[in-house]
């Protein structure tokens, strides 16, 4: 599977990429803001999953979700917001705009893997089998 990490913090992108590699996801692309992410998606190949920060320069994460959802052809792409924005109302807005899941920063490794399991990208949440990865 192919993942696009959208975050203006290089450190955050590298932490998330490290966790993804640990569970067997190696096809990882990165973008530092919403506009760059939008360009990447349009240029293709379309990622299976985008992990998107909210507060970024140029184009924020919510505007990225709104823009990318306008383009019907990218509907297959799953989007999860990964952000410090933790208000109930913000989560409602993100999901209404077309994000599928929401992970609040700070988070630990298990929390990210739990969310990927909810989205069906990794196997059952059993402690023993959390390393299983669907291709």
């Amino acid at each position: 599977m192919r993942v696009l990490l959208v975050d203006d913090s290089r450190a955050m992108r590298s932490i998330v990429a490290r966790i993804l590699r640990k569970i067997g996801i190696f096809d990882i692309d990165e973008a530092a803001d919403g506009q760059e992410a939008l360009d990447r998606v349009k240029a293709g190949p379309v990622p299976d999953l985008a992990l998107v920060d909210w507060n970024m320069p140029v184009m924020n994460g919510l505007d990225f979700v709104i823009s990318v959802r306008k383009e019907g052809e990218f509907r297959s792409m799953t989007i999860m917001m990964v952000t410090t924005e933790n208000e109930h109302g913000q989560i409602v807005r993100a999901l209404a705009a077309g994000a599928h899941e929401y992970l609040i920063k700070p988070f630990d490794e298990e929390a990210l893997i739990d969310k990927l399991a909810i989205l069906g990208f990794v196997g059952n949440l059993d402690e023993a089998s959390s390393e299983q990865v669907h291709s």
């Binding site: 933790n86 208000e87 109930h88 109302g89 989560i91 409602v92 993100a94 999901l95 994000a99 599928h100 899941e101 929401y102 992970l103 609040i104 700070p106 988070f107 630990d108 298990e110 929390a111 739990d114 969310k115 399991a117 909810i118 059952n124 949440l125 059993d126 402690e127 023993a128």
Partner: protein
């Protein structure tokens, strides 16, 4: 300084004496983080020194707090997913058809910790079984720890806790903002009840019978004799045709001959064998 070997042995013995749980050596790493808040509360900044203090003082209240701190489990929403899939697709439909005339259902989360397991069941019922809204549904959670019972009852969770296994769509529907935390809606909170109970202290106090008993990741902490006594007590509280769920690493085999297994959605439930 961390907890020394002989101090951890003392903790193991203390935990065993008070709760009958066996703390494996691999849990030694927990001592530091779990005991530090207790140590600080009485002005000690070193966990090693704190354990030495507990040992010397023979303070029963303090010993209880130590046992609680060492035995709490990390809990997740919809933990392990498969048992919840099995509840949705097999266990609950079966119980609903068999109890259609009585229109009553009771579920017990026997080591409810901070409440996520029982609330997940309440959310599952609300999401997937709207036809049960006029049933008498009793959802009980019990835990060894008073602190956990209070936390579960409050229904308030931090964002770190919300991150663990709860789909965002359910967060939106069943929680509201409470400062920087989230609080379960009254609709869900009003359906559940939590109380303190020590599973290892048998015979158990008077309890109703349950259609589903969730006894997950509890037996692993006990010795064989205690496991057997707990299963015997649980068996007496299961309604005819009721389901018992254990943790993935747990089984009744070698402990009780009275159960048979039922598999669904990759999860294994236990039912009392018919004679």
């Amino acid at each position: 300084m961390t907890v020394a070997n002989d101090q951890f042995t003392f903790l193991q013995e203390l935990v065993y004496k008070r709760s009958a749980m066996v703390l494996s050596d691999s849990k030694a790493y927990l001592a530091e983080s779990r005991l530090m808040p207790l140590a600080r509360a009485i002005g000690i900044s070193d966990t090693g020194e704190f354990v030495a203090h507990v040992r010397r003082s023979h303070d029963v209240k303090l010993e209880e707090q130590v046992v609680e701190a060492m035995t709490i489990n990390e809990t997740l929403w919809f933990r392990d997913k498969r048992p919840f899939d099995a509840l949705r697709s097999h266990v609950l439909p079966d119980l609903i058809s068999r109890k259609a005339s009585a229109r009553q259902l009771s579920i017990w989360s026997a080591a409810s910790s901070s409440g996520q397991e029982l609330y997940s069941v309440a959310i599952l019922l609300e999401e997937s079984f709207p036809q049960m809204r006029d049933w008498r549904v009793s959802l009980l959670g019990t835990d060894l720890s008073r602190e956990m019972v209070d936390k579960a009852t409050s229904g308030v969770y931090s964002s770190m806790e919300m991150n663990r296994g709860l789909p965002a769509a359910m967060l939106i529907r069943y929680f509201s903002q409470s400062g920087s935390s989230y609080r379960l809606t009254d609709t869900i909170r009003s359906k559940v009840r939590f109380q303190q109970m020590n599973l290892a202290s048998t015979p158990w106090p008077s309890l109703p019978v349950f259609d589903v008993i969730l006894l997950r990741n509890v037996l692993i902490y006990f010795d064989v004799g205690t496991k057997q006594r707990i299963l015997q007590e649980a068996r007496r509280r299961l309604s005819p045709g009721g389901y018992l769920l254990l943790g993935t690493a747990e089984t009744t085999s070698g402990l009780s001959g009275e159960f048979e297994t039922v598999s669904a959605e990759g999860a294994v439930f236990y039912r009392v064998k018919e004679r």
